[in-house]
Structures are given as C-alpha cells and as structure tokens.
Subunit: 280 residues, 2 copies
C-alpha cells in the first residue's frame, strides 16, 4: 500500500513541493499526497494515523516560526520529526490582466507580508486580500483582469494565468524550513535534535537554568522560539533546536535527563538531518 | 495643541479602547486619536513625528507576540515604551441575520484563530474570511444576513448588528498587552525594562552568555521572544522584558553595560509601568 503524506493543500503550494522532495529523500516509493485544509489538519492527519506522514512548514527566514505548526506540535507530543528540508521561496505575481489593471492582490498572509515592500511600490492602491494558501489564491484570480495572486511559479500552469513579475519577495534569500512528521522516531541519528518544554512557573531564572543545562553539555542551540502557554499571559512554551554535529551518540539521552527535573513538560521530537535545496 | 495618538483603526478596535485608557493613565488631556491602516503605519506615525504617540498591541496570551509590532520596533530604535496596559479580550459574534443563516465569518486573523474551537463547533461549514481589523469586519457584515463578524462588543453600536453569541473566544482568560510608544523616554522609572538585541553570529553559546549576564545581575526575565533577523535562516533578534521591581535605580544602566559587548546590536526601549485592566 502506498505511503500517505498529508500536506497543506491544494496542489501547487510550496508545501506540496516540499512533500515530494522530502518523500524522495526519505526513500518513500510513490507516495500518495493528501492535501489538507490548514496546517493543524495536516498535523492531525498523521497524529491520528489517518496518514503515515505529514509535511509542514516550521520556520521562515523572514516571517519567523510558523505558529500554527508549533502550537500543533505541542498538543501532539507523540510526533517525531524524521527529516527537515530548507526550500528557497520565490514569489510570483500572477494574473489574467496586466499590472496597471490590478486592484486586488490575493495570497496567504505570510506571502503578502513577504512582498510588502514590492506591493507598496508597485501596487500601492491595490487591496490585499488574505487566502488560506498561495495555490488557492492562484485559483481564485483565474478569469478576473482586476485580481492578481502571489503564488509559486508552478501556478503559471493554471489556465489563463500569466506571470506579471518574478521574483517579488522583498528579501532575496527568503527560505522556509519544512519538516516531515511521523508517529515513529527516525531510525537514523541526525545532526539536529528538536525539543519543546514548559517551565515550572514562579521559579525565577528557570529558563536560564534550562539553557545552562544545554550549554553545560557542550551543546549549541541553533534555534529558540517561544510560544504562549495559552493559560496565562507571561507563561511560555520554548522550542529549542540543538546542534548534534560531532557529538557523542549518548548526548541526546544526557540532554533529556538533564532537562527533565527543570521542566514542567518536556517533549523530544527526536533527532534528524536537514537538507538545503537550491533550486530556482 | 492636542496630543495626537496613532492606533490601528478604524474606530471600534480593541486598540482604540487601549489608546483611550493609556492616554488617561498618562494624563494626556483630550487626546486626538488618529486611526491608521496597519500596525506598521501606526508605529511609523510616531517614529517620524507625524503623531506624538502610538498605541499598539505587543503580545496576546493565546496568539503570542505580535510579530508586526516587534519587527517595526526593531527597525525604529528611537522609540521608547512609556507605559503598558493589559486588556481582557472578549470576542462577540455580530450579524444582521441569525446563527443558522451564517455562511461566512469575517475578522482579523488573530481573532479568527482565538475563536477557532467555537467556530468549528458552532459554524463548522462557514467560510472564514480575514480582514485588517475586527472593527473593519463589523462594518463589512452590515446588511448581509449570511455574514457574521467577530469583533468587540462595542461594535453592537453599529446600525443593524445584533449580538449572536458572547463571549466566543476559546480561552476565557484571553488578554492582550498594549504599549504606548513615544520618541522620548518616560521620565518615571518603571517596573519593567524592555530590550532587544541581536548576537554576533557564529559565536556558539552567545545567547546563553547574554542571558547569563542578565541573571548575574540578579534580574529575572519576564518574557523572551525571538524574531528572525530577516538576513539568514537561523539568525535571530531577541526581545526580552526584565523585571525591575525592588531593584536599584542603577541596575538598568548596569544591564546595558553588561550586554553591550555581547551583542551585535542592542536597543533599550526604556523602563515603564504596566497596568492590568479588568473590565467586561
């Protein structure tokens, strides 16, 4: 039976591209890609075993952590990251009409934010309308001369759509990290370990203690991200990536043991390797 | 001349309520409130002296840091926080029609996210359409029986709109912290100091060093938030709040001196006091 991989649909999203690439890297033979509405839904599909895996974005170099992904990971501690992939994001402006006719620009809020400067210089009066995905935006502007979508170049395949400008993202090095999630830990040890933890509240310096425990093992954090606990303003959940390159095999266990007494909740998402893709 | 206070408009937003309250707390006599389109625009109004002050949300207990505010603060280091206010957020569903007729729900993306569970239980098939503000959503649903808005209860004042449900936010303790920004530092010392810094890249353990410097002064962090530097995936800017209660007057200077050599860039937003409002 074919391996089912959930992702943020519809077809044509950057997540779909990442899902194909990650499946290839994980030697998944002829995966069945299952488009989901919303990131949380994609993650639920793997957490509840409706799918074998899910591919979701976790951070973008311009917009930062993808909060829906982080919040869903915290609520499904049974998940493991099996592999990460960094994809260059180059946005394209697509329409049936021409640039001087456009009065509305549609896209996912993160894509609109990533093209904010370009839009204010080139389409200062156009209304910006958010959609659920870049690919949905491309579908919604088909047939209207006054509407344009910000989407991946792949969407120029859609009937009637032309490329009006490319690339239009404000930061040329715009990149997004996607992760492949499963309910089983990757069998190969990787270069990165991802953990998440909450701290005992009202313990002054609790975060410093936790980070010192990581430092004392000679480990370097490559990423730290805080999210609200959603219980109380000022209570946080921390997502930390630790660099395991050139480290002893046992260090991951040592890390969990050192952190356990300092944390209220502690989740390990396993260790995994990261691939950087450089395509146009 | 009346003091001009920029805020995320239009009239009827939570930010407007915060702007009135913060002006009152700061003894600003009869302020002129200037509604702006977008948080960045409100912050630009004070940074470029078009207005005397700006009131913007900085963090929410459910959705976390307000990324547009944090990114704008990093790009305008001349700004100081003069006062903070925590406002309870209670969302209301408003419409001309009745609940069983609603096929579209409009609101600001953060408000839609904060009512996600309520919507999936009570209006599972309704399309969710994002808008620029909650107050804008309320205006856009006037006159349509099939559309509802998520907004503050104040918007029931708008003609033709009825309250269909209240409160509908998933977390009862939903609260947002707003800050009043000026280009001048507050003359009174406050309980909280806010700073932001970026670190020298490729220095392992640089974040741990900076946080240790804070801990070594006997100071506790009440908040830490990371944002991407927007230059490179994996490079961050950190926003830290430090608790100054019961501290020596000089500790703020000591903090800046201790952090300076460890940081690439270091910004102080000054020290200020925080008020918690408990209204319905």
């Amino acid at each position: 039976m074919s391996i089912q991989v959930a992702y943020l649909g519809p077809e044509g999203t950057y997540a779909e591209k990442a899902a194909w690439e990650l499946s290839r890297l994980e030697n998944i033979d002829r995966p069945t890609l299952v488009p989901c509405i919303g990131l949380r839904s994609a993650i639920e599909h793997v957490a509840t075993n409706l799918c074998d895996a899910a591919v979701v974005p976790i951070e973008n170099s311009v917009e930062g952590g993808v909060t829906s992904t982080l919040d869903a990971l915290w609520s499904y501690p049974q998940l493991f990251i099996n592999r990460a992939l960094v994809l260059p994001i180059k946005h394209c402006l697509l329409s049936t009409g021409s640039l001087n006719e456009i009065s509305e620009v549609l896209s996912h809020p993160q894509a609109l934010a990533q093209c904010n400067e370009w839009l204010s210089q080139n389409l200062p009066n156009a209304l910006q309308l958010p959609t659920n995905s870049t690919a949905e935006a491309a579908r919604m502007v088909q047939g209207s001369k006054f509407r344009a979508a910000i989407a991946s170049r792949a969407s120029t395949n859609l009937e009637g759509l032309n490329e009006l400008a490319f690339p239009i993202n404000d930061v040329p090095g715009n990149r997004t990290r996607f992760v492949l999630l499963k309910t089983k830990e990757s069998q190969k040890k990787g270069d990165i370990a991802s953990i998440a933890f909450s701290l005992h509240s009202n313990v002054p310096g609790a975060l410093l203690q936790a980070l010192s425990a990581i430092g004392n093992l000679g480990l370097n954090m490559s990423r730290i991200e805080s999210r609200p606990s959603k219980r109380e303003l000022g209570e946080y959940v921390f997502f930390v990536d630790v660099d395991l390159k050139n480290c002893d095999d046992n260090v991951h266990n040592q890390l969990m043991k050192a952190l356990m007494p300092l944390c209220e909740h502690l989740i390990s998402f396993g260790s995994y390797s990261n691939t950087e893709l450089n395509i146009g």
